[in-house]
């Protein structure tokens, strides 16, 4: 039984409705007559931050309803602006609470800060806020680039602890305390959010490890910087992994078990085999090249909505840049249209960087699909990937579904060019990854 489809619009409506109710409760709890002061700011930001933190947990719970219906990259995008917003609201709430307390108790700010910290649940909430701020700082692009993905990932997981630490204060706070039904509803919001995380981020991968017994069968070097990892297991058809989807892979060796890397399947899944293809981007991903055969693999997934099911138009254009070829290679093999109207545009900086060329040519020959390799410097006019150039390659671009996977810079360039030219957003399907 497939889970019911939840669309992005339906989810957004639900989330904003909940946010409006939470903020309204902040207004109801504020003292009358309403005036814009520190107390009102503390009430509103406190409710919004508490609600937002639970929503962030739900969005990142990897629930199949969300992953298949909304799409991983959209969820990640919402999280990337929602997360900082929750942190800012938490900090503003903490700052506003002190002058608000000072005002009603007629004491100075330092005494008020001490008073506030002495209240039950406030110390843990403050620790939680400090952790959230650290997580937020580590995710700022300038700092993020300097921190290894593995360290950043571990630090990011502390956000769960931070959210849990703030919970007691929320239940005891002035907006909820004494309102029994609201306290129950708020508690349920949090217990359900953590249950979703437990179900899909902890239990599901453990179950999959037990059931499928996924192991590394072969590590094959595709180019100096790219390798494919072939894994074998049992009942892999039960995963219902579709071409274009990805998993978060944790290779259980002493060096690599701490990190979960998102990599797409580079070939359609079979009943007993999965294949991914990895580009070395740092010390962590380089270690994958040395994974011993027989290593157990802890896999979370499949995730992502970059699948053949998204197709609506009669023709398909697949655009791959560099290692972005991995999901496109899998899609290229399975998208089978009447008239074979599938084109793969594959951009690489050199011939050496073209992975799977042999496989792709073979699929193209077998299926009658078309491949266009754009190799060399991007300054070369022949490698233009603007909407105009793509239109020239495929004919009528508006009649296509476009699947895109490339480096963030190239993907942004192609996306902007397509949308600028009036290409419908709903016909553009992409998955964005960055370490």
């Amino acid at each position: 039984m497939r889970p019911p489809r939840l669309t992005a619009t339906a989810l957004l409506v639900l989330v904003w409705l909940g946010a409006a109710l939470a903020v309204l409760q902040g207004f109801f709890s504020a003292k009358l007559p309403l005036r814009f002061d520190a107390s009102l700011v503390a009430h509103l930001t406190g409710m919004a931050a508490g609600y937002g933190a639970a929503i962030m947990l739900i969005l990142m719970s990897r629930s199949p309803w969300l992953e298949r219906g909304v799409g991983t990259h959209r969820l990640a995008r919402w999280h990337s602006w929602g997360g900082p917003l929750v942190i800012i609201l938490s900090v503003v709430h903490a700052i506003a609470a002190v002058p608000a307390w000072a005002e009603v108790t007629s004491i100075d700010l330092i005494a008020a800060a001490k008073d506030v910290l002495d209240l039950p649940g406030l110390t843990t909430a403050l620790v939680g806020t400090v952790i959230l701020v650290l997580v937020g700082l580590a995710s700022l692009p300038a700092l993020r680039r300097r921190i290894a993905y593995e360290r950043w990932h571990v630090l990011h997981l502390l956000a769960y602890l931070a959210v849990a630490l703030g919970f007691a204060h929320q239940l005891a706070g002035p907006d909820l305390a004494g309102r029994r039904w609201l306290q129950i509803a708020w508690s349920l919001l949090y217990t359900y959010a953590f249950a979703l995380v437990l179900r899909w981020r902890v239990f599901q991968p453990l179950f999959q490890l037990w059931r499928h017994r996924l192991r590394v069968e072969e590590v094959r070097q595709e180019s100096p910087d790219v390798c494919s990892v072939l894994m074998s297991g049992h009942h892999l058809d039960e995963l219902r992994a579709e071409p274009g989807q990805f998993f978060r892979w944790r290779f259980l060796t002493r060096q690599t078990w701490r990190s979960a890397y998102p990599f797409s399947l580079s070939a359609p899944a079979t009943r007993d085999r999965l294949r991914i293809t990895v580009k070395a981007r740092g010390a962590g991903t380089r270690q994958i090249f040395e994974i011993p055969v027989g290593t157990l693999v802890f896999a979370e997934g499949p995730y992502g909505a970059l699948t053949p099911r998204r197709r609506r138009r009669p023709r398909v254009l697949l655009i791959a840049g560099g290692v972005g070829i991995t999901p496109m290679r899998a899609l290229f093999e399975v998208i089978d249209l009447p008239g074979k109207d599938v084109t793969l545009v594959y951009r690489a900086s050199s011939e050496q960087d073209l992975v799977f060329k042999h496989e792709i040519d073979e699929i193209a020959e077998r299926s009658g699909a078309r491949v266009v390799y754009l190799v060399g410097p991007s300054s070369d006019a022949a490698n233009d990937m603007s909407a105009h150039a793509l239109n020239r390659i495929v004919g009528d671009l508006s009649d296509h579904d476009v699947y895109l996977c490339a480096s963030p810079r190239l993907a942004a360039r192609v996306r902007e060019s397509l949308l600028h030219r009036g290409f419908p957003r709903h016909q553009l399907h992409e998955e964005r990854f960055s370490f």
């Binding site: 039984m1 709890s29 504020a30 003292k31 107390s39 503390a42 609470a97 608000a100 307390w101 005002e103 009603v104 108790t105 007629s106 506030v116 209240l119 039950p120 649940g121 406030l122 204060h169 239940l171 005891a172 706070g173 002035p174 909820l176 305390a177 004494g178 029994r180 039904w181 306290q183 129950i184 509803a185 708020w186 508690s187 349920l188 919001l189 949090y190 217990t191 359900y192 953590f194 249950a195 437990l198 179900r199 239990f203 179950f207 490890l209 037990w210 059931r211 017994r213 049992h234 009942h235 039960e238 259980l252 060796t253 002493r254 078990w257 027989g294 157990l296």
Partner: protein
């Protein structure tokens, strides 16, 4: 990860060999049951947390305000 843990990991297939033999439909029903139990537990825990939460707000600046203005 300790050597013992890694060794245990290597032995998982031998320890849990029956994982492969279980039929897909039994697996599906087991997963549904586990999910239902998990959310039933989350419901019970959430209601219990809400029921036992403080009735008066110790952090309420407004209560303090009201109390102060009543004096």
């Amino acid at each position: 990860m300790s050597d013992a843990t890694l060794e245990l990991g290597r032995r998982i297939p031998r320890i849990a060999r029956f994982s492969v033999a279980v039929s897909p439909s039994l697996i599906r029903w087991t997963l549904r049951t586990v999910t239902a139990i998990l959310f039933a537990a989350a419901t019970a825990f959430g209601v219990s947390l809400g029921m036992s939460a403080p009735e008066s707000p110790p952090t309420s600046v407004d209560n303090h305000h009201v109390a102060a203005s009543n004096q």
